[in-house]
Symmetry: C2
Subunit: 218 residues, 2 copies
DNA sequence: CTTCTATTCTATCGATCGCTAGATTAGACG
DNA sequence: CGTCTAATCTAGCGATCGATAGAATAGAAG
């Protein structure tokens, strides 16, 4: 390995880069941004093998990005503080801004409902003020309990197909799911539109909203 | 490799992390933050083999972090825009904030003159207003020409030992070098203090100053 | 103390990455 | 057109990393 005077400092800096250099770890961080989770929950939600997940989490811990809390036999992981969440937001924003293939990949992954058609935070604020919107939280009941947008109704995506008739017809539905790369809300919007409803997806999902609203408190 | 639904998106995001996961690349980015450079200059300043440097630079280019400009037979590299510089600043700040071993390493690397004793930007602004400071740029003449703090005098560190007597005795000397991890200015401050001068190092060096002053313009 | 569960530790394999050295391209100069 | 220089491309080696499976730990429950 090449040696240069400042090497020790840059090697430690590179630890942070390494922590952010594996797709699995980036996904885990986004999952943790939903709220505290056990290793098992993370493995299940992310679709990773358990042992693998554990190992990645420890790397994230070594980089100072996540914290652990023991409760009985379970270990709960969470982002170490809200700064981590904000940093992740900036990291993703920065990456999207200068990697054209990433932007394209996101477009393809989400479809138009999740990207170009999505409601921005500024738009949402205006719509909420004018009372012309119903916020629908598509995540699991557990995730909704951990925290959700003010005024949002919990309709887990699995139940949406059976329950969309309950939703009022006189307002636009703005649906959101976990985060900016989650396909759930774009899909739900497509379903609702096919049912003749006025529906849009919230840009960035819950995570992105939280990132912009944690700055003040916490 | 583990496959999960959002994998393609997170794989691309991980490209950015990978770009930031090698000490050499992080050093190159900081060097480029001084201004445009040819591959050869970078290799020389960083102390890396030329071919190695070229290869790393191309990875940075693939990640959208640096841009190239051809001029005759030489190729000049530079940060792609000032956003990159700001992002790097945040990356380093974030890493320092949550990796205790990194902070410690920096302390040891720079000594007290470069860390705890250093002048912050806010302090410097006040000192400049009151006219009680002489700014000394310790970098090479070429780097000084590329850009420097307003009012700074160029005294390349090699010449300092011969020229410190020229510097006025009635003001505090604030010396700066390339960046936050550069040992040049702390060393210079030590030398000047041993010569009975009132001297301090500028926290973060030229790069850090530039990062905070490019936000407005550019 | 034993048993059970959640998680981590250890060892191994294959893939990737960084470093090195030789061959090659792109442009400048005579 | 050949020659020179700067930089990149290619191939090979050793080190590291991620995935996997078996062994081991820490705490809860009996």
């Amino acid at each position: 390995m090449t040696e240069f005077p400042e090497a020790p400092v840059y090697e430690r800096l590179a630890h942070l880069g390494k922590a952010l250099s594996a797709p699995v770890r980036l996904r885990l961080l986004d999952l943790l941004d939903q709220g505290e989770c056990t290793v098992e929950e993370l493995a299940q939600r992310g679709g990773f093998p358990l042992k693998n997940t554990s190992s990645h989490l420890q790397q994230l811990r070594a980089a100072g990005l996540v914290a652990t809390r023991r409760e009985g036999t379970r270990i709960h992981y969470s982002l170490r503080d809200s700064e981590v969440s904000r940093f992740l937001g900036r990291f993703q924003e920065f990456a999207e801004a200068r990697m054209p293939d990433l932007r394209q990949e996101i477009q393809e992954h989400l479809g138009p409902e999740g990207s170009v058609d999505a409601v921005t935070h500024a738009e949402l604020d205006g719509m909420v003020e004018r009372g012309e919107v119903l916020l629908v939280d598509l995540r699991s009941a557990a995730e909704y309990e951990e925290g959700h947008l003010p005024g949002a109704v919990s309709v887990p995506s699995r139940e949406l197909a059976d329950r969309w008739a309950e939703l009022p017809w006189d307002t636009t539905i703005v649906a959101y799911c976990q985060g900016p790369y989650c396909v759930v809300s774009p899909r739900a919007v497509r379903l609702l539109r096919e049912a003749g409803r006025s529906a849009r997806s919230l840009k960035g999902g819950y995570v992105d909203w939280k990132r912009h609203h944690d700055s003040a408190d916490d």
